[in-house]
């Protein structure tokens, strides 16, 4: 079942098409990466999903029903990239205020605040003003106020920026924990290594259009160049390397990067080396990182856009 489904969403501004016919769906409990270069339309997309702005065309379905910002807003938690908290307000009061605005009663809010403040070990800050805290500390408070009302859909825009590795790990663990508990998470970032580490699914947008959509594993498979890395105990002499199964792309100190030829199987590569009596120490398929896919796809779509403009 999909928690969120976007159908042909469009938002045009006077000068540009911020979101131009984007559709995708997000299954319940998944961690979903929304990727794209700056100005791709991510924030506009997120603002439509959070009901802050309305699409010009297209529909959003939340939990199987048409999205009703007025009611559904309380099931969504949104942490924008730029941190926003009242500087002069005390940490505890601030959390209380935001929780109540999400529809929690004062009593429920109290319980949640106690729970989360304990969990993040920040109970002692409760009476401090936000402006007295470091950036990382503010980030924690912001995260707590985003998840306090136990949203069905959690939207995190660059949640790790400004965090030290320890707090990064803390937030990351919480994200996994929440996903396990059934919360669906949309995760927007530029940091590709985190995407691979955290996300199940990704959508890549560029210039208002969807470029890619699918599970992380699938995408890496789809964009692979059929390359393999093989390490050997001793390097064979060049005469031994003639084969119709693969071509050498690069030679390393202790092995090769090879590209497998069409109709050949991985075992054919191994068989070749075994046949020559060379000891194999390591063999692995090289899949493109999401980072590489991202850059390649963004470049391709940019080129297409330029080509279209020229024509």
């Amino acid at each position: 079942m999909n928690v969120l489904e976007l159908q042909h969403l469009k938002k045009y501004y006077a000068t540009h098409r911020a979101v131009d016919d984007i559709s995708f769906s997000i299954p319940k409990g998944s961690i979903f990466g929304l990727l794209g270069p700056n100005g791709a339309g991510k924030t506009t997309l997120l603002r439509m999903i959070t009901g802050i702005i309305y699409p010009d065309a297209g529909e959003v379905f939340f939990d199987g029903r048409p999205f009703d910002p007025h009611n559904d807003i309380q099931y969504i938690g949104y942490m924008p990239e730029e941190r926003g908290l009242y500087k002069k307000m005390k940490v505890g009061e601030q959390a209380m205020y935001l929780a109540q605005l999400k529809g929690l009663s004062a009593k429920e809010a109290r319980q949640k605040i106690d729970y989360w403040f304990n969990r993040f070990e920040i109970t002692s800050w409760s009476n401090k003003k936000i402006e007295e805290l470091s950036k990382g500390m503010q980030q924690k408070v912001q995260f707590i106020s985003t998840v306090m009302h136990h949203p069905k859909l959690l939207i995190l825009d660059e949640p790790f920026s400004g965090l030290d590795p320890i707090n990064s790990q803390l937030i990351q663990d919480e994200i996994f924990q929440l996903a396990k508990g059934g919360t669906t998470i949309i995760f927007s970032t530029h940091r590709m290594e985190q995407v691979e580490e955290i996300c199940d699914h990704i959508v890549l947008v560029n210039k208002g259009k969807k470029v890619l959509d699918g599970p992380v594993k699938q995408i890496r498979q789809d964009f692979k160049h059929h390359l393999y890395r093989i390490s050997l105990e001793s390097m064979p002499n060049p005469a031994q390397m003639a084969t119709h199964h693969f071509t050498i792309v690069k030679q390393h100190e202790n092995g090769y990067t090879v590209k497998i030829n069409e109709y050949s199987k991985t075992n054919d590569i191994l068989a070749h080396f075994l046949h020559h009596g060379i000891q194999i120490t390591f063999f692995e398929e090289i899949l493109p990182t999401i980072h590489e896919v991202f850059i390649q796809q963004v470049k391709t779509t940019d080129m297409e856009a330029v080509a279209a403009a020229v024509n």
Binding site: Y78, G84, L98, K102
Partner: protein, 429 residues
């Protein structure tokens, strides 16, 4: 609805709990009171003018009695020498009246260290003139007592309206001025407070978090109403302080001057003062003035607060933006105070009437007219029209402001033009 209440509560409480709120609320009336009371305290004998008089004409001897703040002292001395020494003898000035023909007045000279105070010149000239006049009358054979019998002293008593209420245009003028000016201050101070609040939310990027929980309209109205609450509380406290001071000070004023020997006022004068105060208080119809003040205070505030909120939502980090953007809003408020200054003198002039009906200026201008009397000076139809257009006005400004605010609060980095803002207003949601 519940959410807007939570916002109102926060906006109200964070401001009321601030030390600066408590301090200004309590100190401002004290400041005002001291501005009224202090000058009279500083008038003491140290500052009195001690005038030495050399009267060569002989007409003035014994005819220049001491008056408030001026003591005349006749001296027998030569002008040339005394001119140099009068200050050493404790005089602040030297008045020289030369020999004269009563019908052809010579120049009378006053020597002093600095420029002669304006008020001193006035009262001294008046005093000297009356002595000369008396002398001339005497010489013309006119009996002074007869002349005084002939002189008439008329003061017109004004009975206004069917109830023939005793009124005083002086009191109406002062009360009108103060109420109009108070409204003017309220519009600016609380309007700016709303604007700064919105700017804080925008520049700290709280707005984005907030509008993922509440509608922008709720956020805006919550702030406007919350700050209105702050204003109301301040208003109530000030009213209480004024009533308290009145109850406390009036009897005190009466008793105090009776016992103090150094007091300038005699018991008689203080009684007169008390009578005057009572006249001031009774000549104003407080039961219509206070509710109307409250109405125009709230109506005017709501009318402008929404506009200030819209401006706040347009400002980026640059505070200079705020200045140029607030100008179109502060301009009509300044126009209002200019009309008000006219209206308080001529409360039925067309400028005053229309100024008190058009909602951009009505809160300030109407408050200047109301003390002159409803329905005497301000007919019911004008009051009704003014009130209805103010209500319609603030509904309209709120509607327009909400449209601007909703877009403006999420816009960053880019400077907006008025044309774009115009488009936002007429765009459908």
């Amino acid at each position: 609805m519940n959410k807007i209440w939570i916002i109102i509560k926060r906006e109200f409480l964070t401001r009321v709990r601030k030390k600066s709120f408590i301090v200004t609320t309590l100190l401002l009336p004290v400041l005002f009171a001291s501005m009224i009371v202090l000058p009279s305290l500083f008038i003491n004998s140290d500052n009195d003018e001690k005038v030495a008089v050399i009267d060569d004409s002989g007409y003035f001897a014994g005819k220049l009695p001491d008056e408030k703040g001026i003591h005349y002292n006749f001296v027998e001395a030569k002008l040339d020498t005394f001119k140099k020494s009068y200050r050493d003898q404790g005089y602040t000035g030297l008045l020289h009246i030369p020999k004269m023909d009563i019908n052809r007045l010579p120049a009378i000279v006053y020597y002093s260290k600095g420029q002669m105070p304006f008020s001193l010149r006035g009262s001294m000239e008046k005093r000297l003139e009356s002595v000369i006049e008396d002398k001339r009358m005497e010489m013309a054979g006119i009996d002074k007592s007869k002349l005084e019998d002939i002189r008439a002293d008329i003061s017109i008593e004004n009975l206004a309206g069917e109830a023939e209420k005793k009124g005083s245009s002086t009191v109406a003028y002062i009360v009108g001025w103060i109420s109009g000016f108070l409204i003017y201050i309220v519009l600016l101070v609380f309007g700016m407070m709303v604007m700064r609040g919105v700017m804080e939310e925008k520049t700290n990027r709280i707005a984005e978090v907030m509008v993922s929980s509440v509608k922008p309209f709720q956020l805006m109205m919550g702030k406007i109403i919350g700050i209105a609450g702050v204003g109301l509380v301040q208003f109530i406290i000030w009213t209480a302080i004024i009533i308290g001071l009145r109850l406390l000070l009036l009897p005190l004023l009466g008793a105090d001057t009776d016992v103090s020997a150094a007091g300038q006022m005699s018991a008689n004068a203080s009684g007169k003062f008390k009578e005057q105060m009572e006249f001031v208080i009774n000549s104003i119809d407080w039961f219509s003035l206070l509710p109307l003040f409250l109405f125009y205070f709230l109506g005017g505030y709501l009318f402008y607060a929404a506009l200030f909120a819209a401006v706040g939502s347009l400002v980026n980090e640059d505070p200079n933006d705020a200045q140029s953007l607030t100008f179109p809003i502060t301009l009509p408020i300044i126009v209002a105070i200019i009309i008000m200054i006219q209206a308080v003198v001529k409360p039925t002039s067309p400028l005053a009437v229309w100024g008190s009906i058009i909602p951009f200026t009505s809160p300030v201008v109407m408050m200047a007219r109301i003390p002159y009397g409803v329905p005497g000076t301000v007919p019911y139809w004008q009051l009704g029209l003014s009130m209805i257009s103010l209500i319609a006005g603030f509904l309209a400004t709120t509607w327009v402001a909400a449209k601007i605010y909703r877009t403006g609060i999420l816009m960053y980095g880019k400077k907006v033009t008025l044309g774009e803002v115009g488009k936002w207003i007429f765009r459908k949601s």
